[in-house]
């Protein structure tokens, strides 16, 4: 007890309070180092955001949304084709990744025996695939497109590459969400005479939707910022029409930013900064939607 009173008698600096009473010099030093690390991370992010914003603020205008890119008049060029291209590719990605990912996760979680070698093999692969560099998926999609005989730089090829990229994440998120559904719901459903498929479709999956939606949206927002696999597919940098189908050529915002940033003219670098801010806002919005969905269902439950 005496030690505790001695502690309480100590002058309580914020540092000491934050360290939960640890007061010897080494732990204080460690705490300071941790804070410096945190400060460094935040500082770098702040500098990046502020400089990007300062570079791009002049071009944060309507033309950024309505105009196509332009070699002749970079001062009024915009990212219209890139914004629409991103929308198309991400929609294609979602259409491919969500059904396949949810189905695969349902099989692994609800039907496959944990003892089965096949299930364990698939599980191991899903975990390994999550760590594969993004560009490899670009190569895979390029090979697939050539094999099927469609041009590589099409919306569908881009969607396949990004869907492969996020598939492991979708599967893992869906499995977590399914695992969180109480076992009693399944048992009650089965006891009332529902088949396992009906149980999955009408009870388990709907109950897992918030978890699936959150994980999927976060995965999609990652895919949105991805340039490497699409560049490998030959993503275009000069498109002056709106994408109009799955076989249409496309450009996306990361590709367009990459191209603009490497140009010599200052106008293009300003454009790159403005488009970066736009992309950042879109990703934050998507993540915000994921958080809202999660919170909404958390309180409802």
């Amino acid at each position: 007890m005496s030690a505790v009173t001695a502690d309480q008698a100590m002058p309580r600096t914020p540092l000491a309070r934050a360290a939960y009473g640890e007061k010897d010099l080494r732990s204080m030093g460690f705490l300071v180092v941790l804070w410096l690390c945190l400060a460094f991370g935040i500082l770098v992010l702040a500098v990046l955001l502020v400089t990007t914003f300062l570079d791009g603020r002049e071009r944060m205008d309507g033309e950024l949304f309505t105009n196509y890119t332009s070699q002749i008049a970079p001062e009024t060029a915009g990212a219209r084709a890139a914004i629409l291209g991103t929308a198309w590719v991400i929609l294609t990605t979602a259409l491919l990744a969500i059904p396949i990912g949810v189905a695969a996760a349902s099989y692994l979680e609800e039907f496959a025996s944990t003892r089965s070698r096949f299930a364990r093999f698939v599980e191991l692969n899903v975990q390994n695939l999550a760590a594969v560099p993004a560009i490899i998926y670009g190569m895979l999609a390029a090979a697939a497109a050539v094999a099927v005989g469609i041009p590589r730089n099409t919306v569908i090829a881009g969607g396949i590459a990004l869907a492969l990229l996020i598939l492991p994440v979708v599967i893992v998120a869906t499995r977590e969400a399914l695992r969180a559904v109480p076992q009693e719901i399944r048992q009650a459903s089965l006891a009332l005479g529902a088949t396992p498929m009906q149980t999955l479709a009408r009870q388990t999956l709907p109950a897992a939707v918030p978890g699936i939606a959150t994980g999927t949206i976060l995965a999609l927002s990652r895919a949105m910022g991805e340039a490497a696999p699409l560049l490998l597919l030959g993503g275009l940098v000069f498109v002056k029409f709106d994408p109009n189908g799955f076989l249409s050529g496309f450009t996306t915002m990361p590709i367009q930013i990459f191209d603009w940033a490497a140009r010599s003219q200052v106008e293009f670098q300003q454009l790159a900064a403005a488009a970066s801010i736009l992309l950042l806002v879109l990703v934050i919005l998507l993540n915000g939607v994921a958080i809202i969905i999660r919170n909404k269902y958390a309180t409802a439950r």
Binding site: I98, G234, G235, L236, V237, F238, G245, F246, L247, A262
Partner: protein
């Protein structure tokens, strides 16, 4: 509670079906036209890919062309000269942008697929060797000095400026240059070191020329090289080094690049046109003719050096040989 869940899954399904109904396929290389003249009746699409150096040039040509022919869709990718030829020889593009002539193995790939092509020079570039504006001793370098500085044997050995020329101070050398994937790197090493790809390895490589600009602008003893446009845009912080290939020092400029006196670093920029597509796609025919005839305007928009009289004549002959 339950209805909410169904609403969420219904939203997913709805998003899916919406996207599906919006689907309408369009092939990338079909072309059709009412008349073969420059009338508004032209339509079709043209795909081009290749060098990121030539990309802005073809983009500028495409943009000027499309303001007059709104029915034609022209796309430009920048997979690099080699990546561009790969697609070109698979028949995926009709125009390939190149900052160097086609290589033998690329020719073989095109032959294997039965792709016939025509090479056309569309503009000039002057590879510019730059130093910091504050640098006092670098004004002119001979090609031998550049070879001493950039040769493969210099790696780890040539580290002070007085090793390049005894008149220079004993300051540390700091070098910036394009990465090995770049056509600019290929051209420079071929001309200066006598073998494509032969270069010292202890320099700061970057695929983004703006990084080279930043590097040289930030160090008084630094040196780098890239296309002339990047120098033009950064004349306030950089100075161009004159090159002496035996006939005195010559500064890079539009005139010296065009008349050939800026040697050996003035280089032509090419496009390669698919002969079969040219014959069957009136939009492609009109576009390439437009590209050559409006060369001066196109080069100006992309900030390159337009063709000389002789070069333009050659380009027109090459165009005529396409049919």
């Amino acid at each position: 509670m339950k209805t909410k869940r169904f609403a969420a899954s219904a939203a997913f399904a709805l998003a899916g079906s919406l996207a599906l109904t919006a689907c309408g396929g369009q092939q990338a290389d079909s072309g059709s036209a009412g008349s073969s003249g420059g009338d508004a009746a032209l339509s079709g699409s043209i795909a081009s890919d290749g060098s990121s150096t030539v990309g802005p040039l073809t983009s500028a040509a495409a943009e000027l062309f499309m303001t007059e022919n709104s029915g034609v869709n022209i796309t430009v990718g920048t997979s690099g000269t080699g990546g561009g030829f790969k697609k070109f020889c698979e028949g995926q593009t009709q125009v390939s942008n190149a900052s160097r002539p086609i290589k033998d193995e690329e020719k073989a790939a095109c032959d294997a697929k039965g792709i016939e092509y025509q090479e056309i020079v569309v503009a000039n570039d002057a590879l510019t060797v730059v130093a910091n504006k504050e640098n006092a001793f670098l004004e002119c370098l001979t090609t031998e000095e550049l070879a001493t500085l950039w040769g493969p044997d210099a790696t780890g050995k040539v580290t002070k400026w007085n090793q390049v020329n005894p008149k220079f101070p004993a300051e540390d050398i700091k070098l910036y240059g394009p990465g090995t994937d770049s056509g600019t790197f290929d051209y420079f090493t071929d001309e200066i070191n006598g073998e494509e790809g032969a270069s010292r390895t202890d320099y700061e490589p970057s695929e983004d020329d703006n990084v080279i600009v930043q590097g040289v602008a930030g160090d008084q003893n630094a040196l780098g090289y890239f296309g002339y446009t990047y120098f033009e845009e950064n004349e306030s912080t950089l100075k161009a080094i004159k090159i002496d290939s035996g006939d005195g020092c010559v500064a890079p400029s539009a005139d010296t690049a065009r008349d050939g006196s800026y040697t050996p670093l003035a280089r032509p920029l090419f496009i390669y046109v698919d002969k079969k597509a040219f014959a069957s796609n009136p939009a492609l025919k009109a576009f390439i003719s437009f590209y050559i005839e409006n060369d001066a305007k196109v080069a100006e928009a992309a900030k390159y050096v337009s063709l000389s009289e002789d070069q333009k004549k050659t380009a027109q002959e090459e165009l005529a040989s396409l049919g």
